[in-house]
């Protein structure tokens, strides 16, 4: 019975042009189930549609039916999530609080003031996602959408060199030895696909074309947008802006789940006046805050860089310390922590 209920989708719910829908309904087709057994020619005669339109109606009805049948149980989802490893950040404290690293299939937002290390984290992740599976990585490729112009090849080379050096020190068996021959700075750079978008129109266009790109590059496991805020800060019409942002959020969620990639976006901070007190909050407004699954806030406190997870379904609000070295995004070593601790006293 429940199955029957699920199949009872009305034709008006299909993504068809309005005139076609009107014709279908007036010809007496109410539910998608009514259409499934028809041939295009029959349908075109009965509903007074052109053959092409009839074909599209049937295609739409069938794909809709497939989707309805593709429900997953929570157990299956859990197994799926277990199969996919996370992307490590190379900051073990942050990995621990994130449960092993940045999750694949989810959207993570990194926000913070300029210079605190958002871009550094993105570059680090773009290299880390390529670590071969035998070293505990996921060996994926990356699409990096740079809207601020802050993607500098020089810096990626720094980070990549450090990661290759790190992995080569870990080599223990033959498998890892072989993996290392293919894991070089050159191979890392050729697996990062860079797109520069100069305004929001270009960003929208690129996101539209990404689905196609991802189908042709099934190994992509990470999409970085650094930053979403930059092209959208200068916008007069705020309702238009939040509508576009919602559209982007929707597209990103589809990309993340359908192609099983991790989406990392960065956001700027802005000052909000509330009751005479100014406060730093992520830009782009309240409704955008619902788009990411995880929100990571990077900030300075005295001379320490701190990262707080402040929205996540799976983790408590936790704060960890990190540092940016010439090698990239790293843990703060214990000795260094003690030293700064004593300086404070």
């Amino acid at each position: 019975m429940t199955m029957k209920m699920k199949m009872q989708r009305t034709v008006t719910g299909l993504s068809l042009s309005p005139s076609v829908k009107v014709k279908l309904v007036s010809a007496g087709f109410q539910f998608t189930a009514d259409l499934l057994n028809l041939k295009p020619l029959q349908l075109s005669k009965e509903a007074g549609l052109s053959q092409q339109e009839a074909l599209e109606v049937l295609q739409a009805a069938r794909t809709d039916g497939d989707r309805a049948g593709a429900g997953l149980t929570a157990l299956e989802l859990l197994q799926q999530e277990d199969d996919i490893r996370s992307i490590v950040t190379f900051c073990s404290q942050l990995d621990t609080v994130l449960g092993g690293g940045l999750p694949v299939g989810k959207i993570t937002e990194v926000c913070g003031a300029p210079g605190v290390g958002k871009t550094q984290l993105c570059l680090q992740l773009a290299v880390d996602v390529q670590v071969p599976p035998c070293f505990g990585g996921i060996g994926g490729q990356v699409i990096y959408i740079d809207t601020e112009g802050s993607f500098l090849v020089q810096r990626v080379v720094d980070v990549a060199t450090a990661v290759v050096r790190h992995c080569s020190q870990l080599v223990e068996d033959d498998e890892q030895q072989i993996a290392m021959t293919a894991f070089t700075v050159e191979s890392i750079l050729s697996n990062i696909f860079l797109v520069r978008c100069h305004d929001y129109v270009e960003l929208l266009a690129e996101l539209h074309l990404l689905l196609d790109f991802l189908s042709n590059h099934p190994k992509v496991r990470l999409l970085v947008i650094d930053s979403v805020a930059f092209p959208f800060r200068q916008f007069d019409n705020l309702s238009q802006r939040s509508r576009l942002l919602n559209g982007i959020a929707q597209q990103l969620i589809t990309l993340a789940t359908k192609h099983c990639i991790s989406v990392v976006i960065t956001n700027q901070m802005t000052t909000r006046l509330r009751g005479g007190q100014s406060q730093l909050v992520p830009a782009l407004g309240e409704s955008w805050g619902h788009a990411p699954t995880i929100r990571l806030h990077l900030y300075w406190e005295k001379s320490q860089r701190l990262a707080t997870i402040f929205k996540s379904p799976g983790h408590m609000d936790t704060t960890v310390q990190y540092q940016i070295t010439s090698d990239g995004f790293r843990d703060v070593e214990l000795a260094a922590t003690k030293e700064t601790g004593s300086n404070c006293c």
Partner: protein, 439 residues
Amino acid sequence: MNWDQLELNPRIIVAVKRAKLKSISEVLCVSGSDLQRLTGLSHSDVQHLLTAVSTTCRRHPPTPVILLLHNQESNLKLSLGCRILDQLLRGGLPVVGVTELSGESGAGKTQLALQLCLSVQYPTQYGGLNSGAVYVCTEDLFPIRRLQQLIQEQTNLRTDVPTDIIHSLRFSDSIYIEHAADLESLQVCLSRRIPLLLARGLVRLLIVDSVAALFRSEFQASDWLERNKQMLAFSSALHHLSREFTTPVLCINQVSDVFSGSDDTLGPRSSTVAPALGLAWANQLMVRLMFLRLQRTVARGDQTSAVRRLEVMFAPHLAREGQDAGIWREGVQAYDIETMPGSIPLSLLLLLFLLGPVSSETVNPMVQDLISRNADFATQLYRAVASRTDDNVLLSPFTISVGLLALLSASNGATRDQLVQGLTMTGLDPQALPGKSRM
């Protein structure tokens, strides 16, 4: 927008025209279902339309980064005209991106900007971009005299460049100066005249000195919303020019005082001032540099200068570091202690001090002269050493002088001249030099 240029079924193009959609951005900004409603097209037709429109928007398909690594043009850096400062910035200013240089008045911001106007004119193998510069003044008159002086002193500053190349460049002909006293004239300048200069390849460096003056003076505190809007429009114009013409943009900014402990959102500070214009402006920058004027001086030859410190506040490719520099007649130049001529003479002076009293009973005017020259030298040396550290210092000038005098007597040519100059003994009769007379 000429829709007929799109590779689409004519049926779709007709529908788009009928829906009175005017531009690509209009199509992309309308949601998919709204497009279906507006055009009366089916779902798959709308997808075709969106794909075609998006493809025309896209400048490049996603490019593997390895291809950029070997692209000479995108890896160019604009040299500051000083080897040590270039090391701090890993080669100089990136050719694409907005760089900010802030500092108190008198810290040397304009000096560095002028130096960049000259440095940009050198061929690329000497760190330049082989083109001129455009300098937008918003607060003061362009310091033309200082520029003339810098041009004359180029041979002393750029010892790495062959002199015939320096003399072949007509520096002042390639610097275009704009005065913009208010935002309106600045906008005209940025939207009309400067794009023209850039498009003709006459300039490849844009300097705005300073951004703070305009935004600080034209708006009341209560107009901050309007101010932010104008500021974003201004910065997006800069970004556009920088990207479109692969041209470095340098914005000079003032600083404002920070009350202790009030806010550390931008990281630890090494002084009590912070760049002006707040977070909204900082969000627009790629590289933020700061010039600090320190409380000590440094000497070099016959010149002294207050010590400046150039600090990297943030940049995607640089560490938070700083480098001490001085401002000399020939320009802004960093120094390191080993190569600084001023530090050599200290030991010599001490030797002379010690030599002086021995012959004090029969003081001859020549020796008297030597003693006073040496005293000058000792002071300079002491100053140079003391300016590097606040710790206690133990110096044995006698030892150093003996060593240097020995060296002096064994040297000739340029080395000898430099030693003599370092010991402030220029113009003395060679026979009167301590190296000759005493050893």
